[in-house]
């Protein structure tokens, strides 16, 4: 085994972030380079556990101890082989995953966990750099055709798996470019888009067909799909954002976070934005409602757009600095997280409930009224704690309620579950035979790593449905 005593000899080390001044002036990745040698040292910290909780903590069940060890031994090519066994796109998860694996790392019981995520990222980056990543075209084709709707992480993962099983895959994407949330939802400073393009080029070389600007149920007829494909896999995401139902919501200046982020991503990609539709924080007093990851992405984006001020408000109380006792190891810890965006400025408010919005005579937003509240589930307002904020723009980052229903889902007539997600059986099949679903569309809003997991699992089921068996992993 790698280094049995590595964890006692080395400290956890991860790539440094660039200085705030530096990074606020561009949209590039906030992290500095990290040397291969440093990665090897981090790999050496892995204890090669008899029961590697990381492996279970990771939804993809990445075989983390193996590649930690391989990296330590300088066997990078073997490492990427093992990493790719369970994860189609380690460059995505290595970049944006919150790393539940690290939360479950055994070393984390009494010290800093192994820097799994950076090891993962560095393995795949090294592999691209060395030219080890080549398109893997199937040896033979089955002749079966599958339409995958949605090109987010679950759709892409499923596409790659099913293509490797020899099926003909067409991925339908309503936008002009492929990638879904990866492309439009995540800011560049967290995921630069060349990473995505690089992978999509590979997928195309492997023989996957991408149909862009193809909005099924809008400009592509659902019936046409049903008749021309042997199976359909719905990976349309959970795109319906949660709204804020308070007086004044209709005032101008309140936007959904996803629209704000998408526009910035398009802008960076060179798309022209109609001035009337521009959502820009520049020079504005911004309030972000929602204290999660999307909120943090908005925060970083606002600062890069040079907002005048930014508040981020969260209804839940402030979590403790350390792992809360209610979420013991190896669970995902309830604790305060400080993302790069939080370092860059802004005010974080906790236990705050927005009560109403006010505007000026033009109907422009001008003020937000709020009250401080008690803990869940009641969120009882604390008398006398009411306050107001002057505000020019509000971004709603309160999560998503489920997939968009009108269009595709309605036309198909698939059954939905109680939460409004597409309902499937244990084989990922919807109420309609030969139609499957995976990703956020099926399980609701979640992480990229879950989307990839869903895509892989659904692919196996689709393959088995078409072939009678499947030896997809």
């Amino acid at each position: 085994m790698g280094k049995p005593t590595g964890f006692l000899e080395y400290k956890r080390e991860t790539p440094q972030r660039r200085t705030v001044e530096d990074r606020l002036n561009d949209w590039h990745d906030v992290y500095r380079e990290f040397s291969d040698q440093s990665v090897r040292t981090q790999g050496a910290r892995c204890m090669d556990c008899g029961v590697p909780f990381c492996h279970l903590g990771c939804p993809l069940n990445n075989i983390i101890p193996n590649w930690n060890d391989l990296v330590y031994r300088d066997r990078w090519q073997d490492a990427i082989r093992v990493l790719h066994l369970t994860n189609n796109f380690p460059e995505f998860t290595g970049q944006v995953c919150p790393a539940p694996c690290e939360a479950a790392c055994v070393l984390g019981i009494n010290e800093a966990p192994v820097a799994i995520k950076v090891v993962e990222k560095m393995i795949i980056e090294r592999a691209f750099r060395e030219g080890w990543i080549k398109p893997e075209r199937p040896k033979h084709r089955t002749g079966k055709t599958i339409a995958i709707i949605g090109s987010g992480p679950s759709g892409l993962a499923a596409a790659q798996q099913l293509n490797r099983a020899g099926h003909h895959i067409t991925v339908y994407e309503k936008n002009d470019r492929v990638g879904g949330l990866l492309r439009f939802g995540i800011p560049d400073f967290k995921l630069e888009k060349y990473i995505l393009d690089r992978r999509i080029d590979l997928l195309q070389s492997e023989g996957i067909v991408f149909a862009t600007n193809a909005h099924v149920g809008v400009n592509v007829a659902v019936e046409e799909l049903r008749s021309s494909y042997d199976a359909i896999l719905l990976c349309g995401g959970a795109e319906a954002p949660r709204d804020l139902n308070v007086p004044g919501r209709q005032l101008k200046g309140t936007y959904y976070a996803v629209d704000f982020l998408t526009q910035q991503n398009k802008r960076l990609a060179g798309a022209a934005i109609e001035p009337s539709k521009e959502i820009l924080a520049t020079g504005k007093r911004v309030v972000i409602i929602g204290g999660g990851d999307t909120g943090a992405d908005c925060l970083g984006t606002c600062h890069r757009q040079k907002a005048k001020s930014v508040h981020q408000m969260e209804i839940l109380p402030k979590p403790p600095d350390q792992r809360a006792p209610s979420t013991p190891w190896p669970q995902w810890p309830l604790q305060l997280r400080t993302e790069s965006s939080h370092e860059e400025g802004g005010v974080r408010e906790w236990a705050v409930l927005t009560t109403s919005l006010e505007g000026d005579v033009q109907g422009n937003l001008s003020k937000l009224n709020a009250v401080r509240v008690g803990p869940p589930p009641d969120f009882k307002p604390i008398p006398g704690s009411e306050f107001s904020l002057e505000v020019d723009m509000i971004l709603l980052a309160m999560g998503f309620t489920g997939p968009q229903r009108n269009g595709l889902l309605d036309e198909l007539g698939v059954a939905l579950d109680s939460r409004g997600n597409v309902s499937t059986d244990e084989n990922y099949m919807t109420s309609i035979p030969s139609v499957f679903s995976a990703g956020d569309m099926r399980r609701g809003q979640s992480l990229v790593v879950w989307a990839i997991t869903e895509g892989r699992k659904a692919a196996k089921c689709v393959d088995r449905y078409l072939m009678g068996f499947s030896n997809l992993p």
Binding site: D48, V51, P52, E136, P330, N471
Partner: protein, 1519 residues
């Protein structure tokens, strides 16, 4: 009558019976017959009574008997009374015949005897109703007593005595066969103890003192004999058997034949080629030579009889069957080596442990097997009496009459020839035998060596392109390569792991398994010892001889026309050489072992049948080597599991009786780990070519995955070494020394293989729960074939994860998995019973998969429940819980003490493990918490086992075996031995510590009775428990242990944890506790022994359901180790062996220990939750108390709805069987054992030493002593320790002088302040565990003998001594001062293996030593007087010691000790040395262990403690 395995006794198998005993003889060397000899013989027998045992009925012994010369004068008189005359001596033979009691069947049997006697040309003179007195024997014995008659048969006309003797043999064999085949009622009674014109055997289910009262013949003054051979039996069970008493026709035996199954199978296989001019046509009528289903001793006797009657002398036969360890003995003369090597080509050794006494009426003698593990002491008087017995002092001989005394040495023979009227020395016997034929020349001319065969023109090379595909085909996993093959290639030994196994049995696994995984290794426990294959390498051998076997009754040069293999692992080149061999009769052919994979079972059967047919054909065409090969697989043909193909051919040829004509060699991609090789060899392969394992090494090498500088050639060399060491170790676990005896010995048990499969292909192997058949095997082969030829996309470059050793999602399931660990830790930390229920629910929920056999059980439905309030409270139930034996050393101080505190708080029991215990812990903390472990373990190394340790216990546990590595010892490397551990273990910081595989005072079942007696003497208040590991036959061992007066028997499952153990042991040795416990309960109940002993079980018990099932199967108490560790924070790192435990449990690293988070409350929470869950199940089942529940196996049923593709074939009916016995036979412990302590001499000692005990006043007194006085001084020592702790009393406070022959364990655990002086001699185990006292033994003052040439003390003296002094004027037996860790001793000569494993202390040997001196010695100093100058070159095992000259300090120390010795013993030897000191002192050699030297030269003690963690992690403990 002996019961056989049957519907009524499903888990009992008579094959598992063991016996051991006291054995002895007395002979008048002048061949003068007298009645006195018989009387003396019986006196020996009576004085060996303590070596026998009795069962449920204290008046019924296990058997006793005598063999004498035919008392002619007596019979003449007796027969006259009956109306028939006897001819002259030698012209008639006498048969002792056991007959059915009822007249009708009795007459039928007698009729058959009469007829066959006539048919063989002899005549019946008459029958004599042997007078016996049934009233004098036990109730049980009486109930099974046969009708006993004697038959007198007249020799035929012109028959020589030899021909007559052979005819009597033919008669007996014919009669036996005919009656066995008849349908005569009660034919089970029929048995012929002896039928000879020379000797007669009187034996039965008797206790020694009963024999003369029962057989009045023996007390008749007219009954005369010049010799009397006696035997007292101790058997592991009490099924009444008159027949199994010894002596047999030629021998009686103390010990056991380990290799029996192989020996018997090979005997059967060679029957067809047996030919003898002496027997001519009669030969066929002797079959089967070895009677089926008899004991090991009886089987050996059968073969001895055949070989002797076919013309070899009895000593020749004994030397051939029980050879010395000649292979590695460089001191042996070439002629003698040739004699042994020649006979090795004829027959594999019958491996002991054995002390065999034998006689044919003309010679009488004894032989010890190569290991010398049984005691045999002898004494010759000036007037020509030779007395040999397991013990000295069995006859009272005044010292002036003693000419000399001795102890038999390993492999040596003691022989008295009544014709020559003298004792023939071993050297002379062997020399004569060696000169019989030009054996050396025959070998030179006929034997072929593999290395001398011409190199082949081509051999198979490495094919890298498809290696992954082929690895997948043979089911290689990623772990196989990473964790098994690679470490073997790098380190040259098997990899080590920890924490036991928690994966499903192969038959419950969802994955295709290698067929190998359905087998479990058997191992030696109690009834025979495992061997230390490393430290005692001189007895081990991997050499084998292959080729066509010839008639063993003949002796020609052709017999050694064999191909000699130094070991059974063949490289591709070796195999190619063999394939092309064309020397002499050798010719090889290759047969493919493949089947058409799409055809399933049908094709597999067809292929196997075809293979067998082709093998027969090849054999008949003159091929002598058949190579079974799976190289030719392709897209359509898959390999047949190599073991299956091998056994199919093997069994087919055995049935055809042609098996010995060919050698079977396996060429397969399948074998890769040690277990695989062991199985192939154990089922008859002569050699194995593991070509894919070899290629895998080359692949690793080419891909640069071997450590820098390690070439493929070296890697292969290492790998082969690892396999060889592993095979030796596996053999030695079973106590088998030579590969030849291991081959075909089938010392495996199948778990989960179907009856049909086993009967046809693994004939004779036990498989008790049924299981899969060829259909599943073919399916598994197909799954692997598919994985190779139709791999999943993206994964085709990879192997399956395996996950047998480390958890992986898509690998094997583990019961201690992320979910169970997390839920359990949450439950105990947050005091959440809800989490606990989630934890148990996860394990119980079968939809997640089966983990173990109990997963296939369910509680009987429809029982009447009781309100839970009425169920025994949890606080009572937790008292039945114990934590497992984990030593301080394997786990940290913090973890060890937390467990102890928790268990003491709840009234359960924690266990010290084998590392001793710090005396500070004997005193309670300020808050009342006691850190002392209630259970003190006594393991083979006896670390820290002193009188004070023993008295501070509620229970003393003798650890025979450990679930994770039964049959193995262990090793704690020096750097792990810090100051505290060293203090607790009475050793030196920095000096490595070895635990020997066996307890050196338990080689046999009667030995454990002695150790139990020893421990009970020291601490009569403690109960004694014996820890066994579940294996086939553990029930009969347990019965023996119960009869040895254990209070508790622990049946440990195979899954138990470990700090460090070879992976193959963790995975492949031992069986689940469900099977072992059920067997034990059944056998104990059947024998009515259950009520005397409590049963405990352990082995990954995790839930309340587990506890209830264990109780229903028979357990009263329950042990837990892994689970409590998890409650204290263990996360199953499985890195215990690396000392890097990140949660501070299994580590001694001070930094890591600080991370320990466990609290006693966590452990207590767990046990109470567990008890609560037990209560819930009890309420549901309607039990109010645990006692009601014990053994209620009727409350369990096999789950019917099992869909699992393999598990559905399992049949648990034998496990869930309820033995039909009378109600009065208890099913749980109700009666206390009678330890017989009240006869202890120590009561007198304590009484006389009262003043000293109470007031520390000096006392002195004298007493006579006999061999029946055992363990003298121990109880007194216990008293002292109890009062004064380890400090004891001031030196010499109690001085006791004895005169006579002391029994075993003289001065055991002798405490400080006592001096025992013995004028006379002593038996084995003198000064065992010496704890500060002083022992002095010297020969009688009036003796004229030369002390250093006469044996004064027995074997295994000062075993595990921690402190004190001993002076012995005379010679000691084997293993003197073994594992000495502190005593100072002077002795004048020692036998083999002196000072083995010694770790501390000082020993002076003033004379000769035996071989293998200082093996495994790591500490302390020995000074040896090397008068002959051969000590360093021949006798000392220098692997771990230096031999240095003495310096000034040494000389001063030595002088002082020799002077002491002289003063205390008046030794002549000492006097001589002192007188010529300057000259003598130069002849001394200082034995200085490397470890100790290193520590001393580092001088600063802190150097001894671990320097860096890095070092610790690198040096993995093995052993």
């Amino acid at each position: 009558m002996t019961p056989t395995a049957s519907r009524d006794f499903p888990l009992y198998d008579p094959k598992n019976e063991h016996d051991a005993c006291g054995v002895g003889f007395v002979v008048n060397l002048n061949n003068e017959k007298s009645h006195d000899i018989i009387t003396k013989g019986i006196e020996i027998l009576v004085n060996l009574t303590h070596r026998g045992a009795c069962g449920c009925d204290p008046e019924t012994g296990d058997g006793a008997g005598v063999m004498i010369q035919i008392p002619h004068r007596f019979f003449v008189g007796e027969c006259e009374k009956l109306g028939f005359g006897l001819p002259r001596e030698g012209e008639y033979g006498v048969g002792m015949i056991f007959l059915p009691v009822e007249p009708q069947p009795r007459f039928q049997c007698q009729g058959i005897v009469d007829r066959i006697v006539q048919e063989e040309g002899l005549s019946v003179l008459g029958w004599r109703d042997t007078p016996v007195f049934g009233d004098t024997i036990g109730r049980v014995a009486r109930a099974s007593q046969p009708y006993i008659e004697q038959i007198f048969i007249r020799t035929g006309l012109d028959m020589t005595r030899e021909t007559f003797e052979r005819k009597l043999y033919v008669v007996r064999k014919r009669v036996e066969a005919e009656i066995a085949a008849s349908d005569i009622k009660d034919k089970g009674f029929f048995y012929i103890p002896s039928l000879s014109s020379w000797t007669i055997v009187y034996k039965g289910l008797l206790l020694a003192p009963q024999i003369t009262n029962f057989y009045t013949d023996l007390s008749n003054p007219d009954a005369l004999s010049a010799m009397c051979l006696v035997h007292q039996r101790f058997s592991t069970n009490t099924f009444p058997s008159w027949q199994l008493a010894h002596p047999y026709r030629y021998l009686c035996h103390n010990g056991e034949i380990n290799t029996l199954r192989g020996n018997v199978n090979w005997m059967y296989a060679r029957q067809s080629i047996l030919k003898s001019d002496l027997f001519g046509e009669d030969m066929k009528r002797l079959f089967p030579i070895v009677q089926p289903n008899v004991s090991d001793s009886a089987s050996l006797d059968n073969v001895v009889e055949l070989l002797t009657l076919a013309g070899r002398s009895l000593p020749h036969v004994m030397a051939m069957l029980i050879p010395e360890a000649w292979d590695a003995d460089t001191t042996m003369s070439p002629a003698k080596r040739s004699f042994y090597e020649y006979h090795a080509s004829l027959m594999e050794p019958w491996d002991g442990p054995a002390a065999v006494a034998f006689s044919d009426g003309r010679v009488i003698g004894a032989i010890l097997d190569r290991n010398g593990l049984r005691p045999a002491r002898y004494l010759v008087t000036t007037d020509g009496l030779l007395i040999m017995a397991s013990e000295t002092g069995v006859l009272d001989i005044e010292s002036s009459r003693v000419s000399y005394t001795g102890a038999l040495e390993p492999g040596k023979m003691l022989l008295a020839d009544l014709a020559e009227k003298r004792i023939i020395p071993d050297d002379e016997i062997k020399e004569k035998l060696s000169e019989r034929r030009p054996y050396g020349q025959w070998i030179n001319e006929n034997q072929i060596l593999l290395e001398n065969l011409p190199d082949p023109s081509r051999e198979f090379g490495f094919s890298p392109d498809d290696i992954v595909m082929r690895q997948r085909l043979f089911g290689y996993t990623e772990e196989d390569v990473r964790m098994i093959v690679t470490p073997m290639a790098v380190n040259g030994e098997e990899p080590v792991g920890s924490m036991g196994t928690d994966t499903p049995l192969a038959c419950l696994s969802d994955k295709p398994q290698p067929l190998f995984n359905y087998f479990k290794q058997m191992f030696a426990q109690v009834t025979n010892p495992p061997i230390d294959s490393i430290r005692e390498a001189l007895v081990m051998s991997l050499t084998s001889y292959i080729g066509t076997e010839r008639n063993i009754l003949d002796e020609t040069p052709q017999h050694c026309h064999t191909l000699k293999l130094p070991h059974p692992i063949l490289t591709n080149r070796d195999l190619e050489k063999m394939r092309r061999v064309s020397q002499g009769d050798f010719l090889a052919t290759t047969l493919p072992m493949l089947f058409r994979v799409d055809g399933g079972e049908k094709e597999l059967v067809r292929a196997l049948d075809g293979l067998c047919r082709r093998a027969s054909l090849a054999m008949h065409s003159g091929y002598s080597i058949i190579i079974l090969s799976d190289r030719g697989f392709d897209e359509d043909y898959a390999p047949i599991p190599s073991l299956l193909a091998l056994t199919a051919v093997h069994n087919h040829l055995v049935r055809e009786e042609t098996r010995t004509q060919v050698a079977l060699v396996v060429e397969s991609g399948e074998p890769r780990e040690v277990m695989h090789f062991c199985l192939l060899i154990g089922y008859g392969a002569s050699a194995v070519n593991p070509y894919l394992a070899i290629e895998s090494l080359e692949d690793l090498s080419q891909r640069g995955l071997l450590p820098q500088g390690l070439s493929f050639t070296e890697a292969l060399h290492n790998y082969k070494n690892a396999v060889k060491k592993g095979i030796l170790k596996t053999m030695s676990k079973m106590g088998i020394s030579t590969l030849q005896s291991y081959r075909g010995a089938q010392v495996f048990e199948a778990v989960g293989l179907g009856k049909e499969l086993v009967e046809k292909y693994f004939t004779g192997t036990s498989s008790r729960i049924g299981g899969i058949g060829l259909d599943v095997l073919s399916q598994e082969a197909k799954m692997k074939h598919d994985a190779a030829f139709h791999p999943a996309p993206t994964t085709d470059s990879q192997l399956e994860p395996g996950a047998n050793y480390q958890f992986r999602i898509n690998g094997e399931r583990h019961s201690v998995n992320p979910t169970t660990i997390t839920k359990l830790q949450q439950a105990v930390r947050q005091s959440s019973y809800k989490s606990f229920k989630e934890y148990t629910q996860h394990l119980i929920d079968q939809s997640r998969g089966l983990y173990n056999l109990r997963g296939l059980m369910e509680f009987r439905k429809g029982t009447r429940s009781v309100p839970i309030e009425e169920v025994e409270p949890a606080k009572e139930i937790v008292k039945r819980f114990a934590t497992g034996a984990m030593s301080f050393g394997s786990i940290s101080k913090e973890a060890h003490e937390t467990l102890a505190i928790a268990m003491n708080r709840i009234g359960g029991k924690s266990n010290t493990g084998e590392g001793g215990e710090n005396e500070e812990r004997f005193i309670a903390n300020a808050n009342g918490d006691l850190r002392r472990s209630a259970v003190k373990q006594v393991a083979s190394a006896r670390f820290g086992v002193s009188a004070n340790y023993l008295v501070n216990a509620d229970e003393l546990q003798i650890k025979i075996a450990q679930g994770a590595k039964p049959g193995e010892g262990g090793q704690l490397p020096g750097h792990k031995v810090d100051a505290i551990i060293a203090r607790v273990r009475h050793s030196i910081p920095g000096v490595g510590l070895i635990s020997p595989p066996p307890h050196h005072d338990i080689y046999s079942i009667e030995d454990i009775a002695q150790l139990i007696y020893d421990l009970k003497n020291v601490n009569p208040r403690a109960r004694i428990s014996v820890k066994l590991v579940s294996e086939n036959g553990v029930g009969t061992v347990a019965a023996g242990v119960a009869k040895a007066h254990a209070d508790v028997i622990l049946i440990s499952g195979d899954s138990g944890g470990t700090g460090a153990s070879p992976l193959s042991s963790i995975k492949h040795a031992g069986i689940p506790w469900e099977l072992g416990l059920a067997e034990t309960q059944q056998v104990l109940v059947l024998n009515d022994l259950r009520s005397r002993v409590r049963l405990q079980t352990d082995g990954k018990l995790q839930t309340g359901r587990d506890v209830v099932i264990a109780a229903l199967l028979g357990a009263e108490e329950f042990g837990f180790a892994t689970t409590p560790l998890v409650t204290m924070g263990c996360v199953m790192m499985r890195k215990c062996h690396l000392n890097t435990c990140p949660v501070g449990i299994a580590t001694q690293d001070p930094v890591l220990r600080q991370r320990f988070q466990g609290k006693p409350e966590h452990v207590i929470n767990f046990f109470f939750y567990l008890a609560e869950e037990v209560r819930e199940v009890m309420a549901q089942l309607g039990f109010r108390s645990i006692d009601e529940m014990i053994g209620r196996v009727d409350m369990l049923e096999q789950r019917q709805s099992v869909e699992h593709w393999k598990a559905k074939h399992i049949d648990l009916s034998s496990v869930l069987h309820n033995p039909p016995v009378p109600m009065r036979f208890g099913r749980r412990c109700q009666i206390a054992q009678d330890h017989g302590l009240n006869q202890a001499l120590d009561y007198q000692l304590i009484d006389k030493a009262k003043e000293a005990l109470e007031r520390k006043a000096p006392v002195e007194f004298h007493l006579p002593i006999r061999n029946v006085h055992r363990t003298v001084g121990a109880m007194l020592s216990g008293e002292i320790s109890r009062r004064y702790g380890s400090q004891g009393l001031p030196e010499d406070t109690i001085r006791i002088s004895f005169k006579g022959s002391a029994g075993q364990s003289f001065g055991a655990f002798l405490a400080k302040g006592i001096t025992l002086t013995l004028e006379g001699d002593a038996n084995d185990y003198v000064g065992k565990g010496l704890s500060g006292g002083r022992i002095v033994v010297f020969p009688p003052k009036d003796s004229k003998r030369i002390a250093e040439e006469n044996t004064v003390i027995g074997n295994v003296v000062l075993y595990g001594a921690t402190n004190g002094e001993a002076y012995f004027s005379g010679k000691a037996g084997h293993r003197f001062a073994i594992r000495n860790s502190g005593a100072t001793a002077v002795v004048e000569a020692v036998g083999d293996h002196g000072c083995e494993y010694m770790t501390n202390g000082l020993v002076v040997v003033l004379g000769k030593t035996g071989r293998n001196f200082a093996a495994g010695m790591s500490g302390g100093i020995v000074y040896v007087f090397d008068e002959q100058g051969n000590f360093s070159s021949l006798l000392c095992n220098r692997a771990s010691v230096d031999l240095d000259p003495l310096d000034g300090e040494d000389e001063a120390k030595l002088h002082r000790l020799v002077n002491n010795h002289f003063e205390l013993t008046a030794s002549q030897r000492a006097r001589t040395i002192l007188d010529e000191w300057p000259a003598m002192v130069t002849k001394f050699v200082k034995v200085f262990p490397h470890d100790y030297k290193r520590v001393l030269s580092a001088s600063a003690p802190q150097q001894a403690v671990p320097q860096t963690i890095e070092r610790i992690a690198k040096e993995v403990p093995v052993g």
